[in-house]
Symmetry: C2
Subunit: 257 residues, 2 copies
C-alpha cells in the first residue's frame, strides 16, 4: 500500500501550497521527512523546546503538530523521554489463524511475549454467556504483554475454559498459545470472530503498555470456536493504534446490492 502522501496525490492531484496554520506546516515537514526516509523509524525527534527555537513557535503549537502526527500513527512518544518515529505497522489478516508469533516473524520482525499474570477466575455473567457455562464457573485468565522488535505493542487478556485445556496454566505461556492449544490439546479452530474498535488506553492497560493514560488505542476482540461451536479462547487485545494494519483478501460470501 502506498504512503498517505501518495494517496492524497492520487486522490486530488498535486498538493496545494501549504498556507494554513503553523502547526500543519510543521506537521507536513516532519511527515515528509518520514515519507522520504530522512527520519527513520525509531529515530528521536528534536525536543519540543529545540523545535521551538527552530520554528519560533510557541510550545503549544509544536505539541499540536506532534499530536497530529501521533494520531496518524507516524510518531509516538515515550513518556518524558521524547518523540520518536513510529516503526512500520504489522499487517494483521483476520482470515488466517496464524498467531502473533507467526505473522510478526513472517513480516521480518521480531515478536516477544511476556506473561504478566495467569490465574483462575470465576466467570462473570457476560463471560459465562460467551463460554456457555454457568456464571461463577472458573475460567483461566491470562494477561500477556507482546512486543515487536522490543517495543511493546499490545496487552492481551485471554480467557480459556479449563474443561477444554486442563492444566493450561502449568505450561509456559510466553510462547505461542495458538500452537500450545493446537499441539497439546488438539483444539482445532474452525471459526474466528473478530471485532475492532478504537478505544482509550487507560489505567493498568496504559501502565503495562508504557503509554500515558488516555492514549488512543485499538481494541481487538477475538473469539475462536472449534468445529462443535465451543469457544476455544476469548481474547481482548489492546493495541497501540500505530502498530497494526488490517488486510483482508478473500473470496466473497455473498452478493448483495
Amino acid at each position: 500500500m502506498a504512503t498517505p502522501s501518495t494517496m492524497e496525490d492520487f486522490l486530488f492531484g498535486p498538493s496545494e501550497v501549504a498556507s494554513g496554520p503553523q502547526y500543519l506546516a510543521l506537521r507536513n515537514r516532519i511527515a515528509e521527512g518520514i515519507a522520504r526516509g530522512r527520519l527513520a523509524p525509531g529515530v528521536r525527534l528534536p525536543s519540543e523546546r529545540q523545535l521551538q527555537v527552530n520554528t519560533s513557535a510557541a510550545r503549544g503549537t509544536i505539541r499540536e503538530a506532534l499530536s497530529q502526527l501521533e494520531a496518524e500513527g507516524l510518531v509516538y512518544r515515550r513518556d518524558r523521554s521524547g518523540w520518536y518515529v513510529s516503526p512500520p505497522a504489522v499487517t494483521y489478516d483476520p482470515t488466517r489463524w496464524a498467531g502473533f508469533m507467526t505473522y510478526v516473524t513472517e513480516q521480518g520482525r521480531t515478536p516477544g511475549t511476556e506473561t504478566l499474570s495467569k490465574e483462575m477466575a470465576p466467570a462473570s455473567p457476560a463471560l459465562a454467556d460467551i463460554f456457555r457455562v454457568s456464571p461463577g464457573t472458573p475460567l483461566y485468565d491470562i494477561t500477556r504483554r507482546r512486543s515487536i522488535d522490543g517495543r511493546t505493542v499490545l496487552i492481551e487478556r485471554i480467557m480459556v475454559d479449563p474443561a477444554l485445556a486442563p492444566g493450561l496454566l502449568a505450561h509456559s505461556l510466553d510462547a505461542s498459545l495458538t500452537q500450545l492449544l493446537a499441539d497439546h490439546y488438539h483444539l482445532a479452530v474452525a471459526r474466528n470472530r473478530i471485532d475492532m474498535k478504537p478505544c482509550a488506553l487507560t489505567g493498568a492497560t496504559a501502565d503495562a503498555l508504557g503509554v500515558n493514560p488516555g492514549t488512543p488505542g485499538l481494541l481487538v476482540v477475538r473469539s475462536s470456536f472449534d468445529a462443535a461451536g465451543r469457544v476455544v479462547n476469548y481474547d481482548h487485545e489492546y493495541w497501540r493504534h500505530d502498530a497494526i494494519r488490517v488486510h483482508v483478501d478473500l473470496a466473497v460470501r455473498e452478493r448483495t446490492g
Copy 2:
C-alpha cells in the same frame, strides 16, 4: 434529547474520586455520560467557554479533554459550530460484498450518496499496473460523498475500467454502484481485497468531508476482482474514523502456530 440544564447537571454534579490530570477528569465525566446514555448521539456539548465556567479550568485544558474524546471516536466537532456526541459507528464486514447502501440500511440507518464528479482520466502507471492496462488508458474516475443519517462519513474515489462497464457514467451513480455493476453489467465479484490504515484527512478530502485539515481518518482501499481475476473496481474510501467498525466472522483458512 436531554436539555442543556439536565446535561450540565449530569456533567457537573457530585463527582466521584478523580485523581490525575484535570482534563482526564472532564473526559471521564463526558465519556460516562455518553456510556450511560445521558448524552445522546447528536447532542451538542456546552461550549468550550461554558465548560470553562463550570470547571474553572483554562480553555486549553477543556480542549485537551475534548480532543481525547474525539480521538476515541466518542465526540466529533463541526467547524466553528460546536462539539457533538458521535452517532454509533456502522459495522463493516469485509468478507461480504454487500455495498454501503445495503449494510447501512441493514443496521437501521439511512445511507445517502452524492456524486461529486465523474469523468474519464488516463491511467497513471500505478493504476495501469492494477488494472493491467497500458499507462494512459482512459479509466472511469468517480468521486462520491456518502452519509449516514445525514452526516457525511466518507469520500470515495472509484476507478472502473470502461472495457468492463461501457457507458457507466451515463447512469446515475447516486445509488448503489455495486448493484449497478451486477445488474447492468453482470459483473460478479469473486474476490475482494481490503486494506485499512489510519490517515490524516487533508486538503480537498477534508473540505469535502467538512472536517478540519489534519483530522484523523481511516483509509480503506478496496480492490474487487471477477472470476477471471480482472479488477472490477478499485476504490479509495476516506472515512471519518469514528464512523466505522470492522467485524469479521468466518471459517479459518489456515492453522499455524
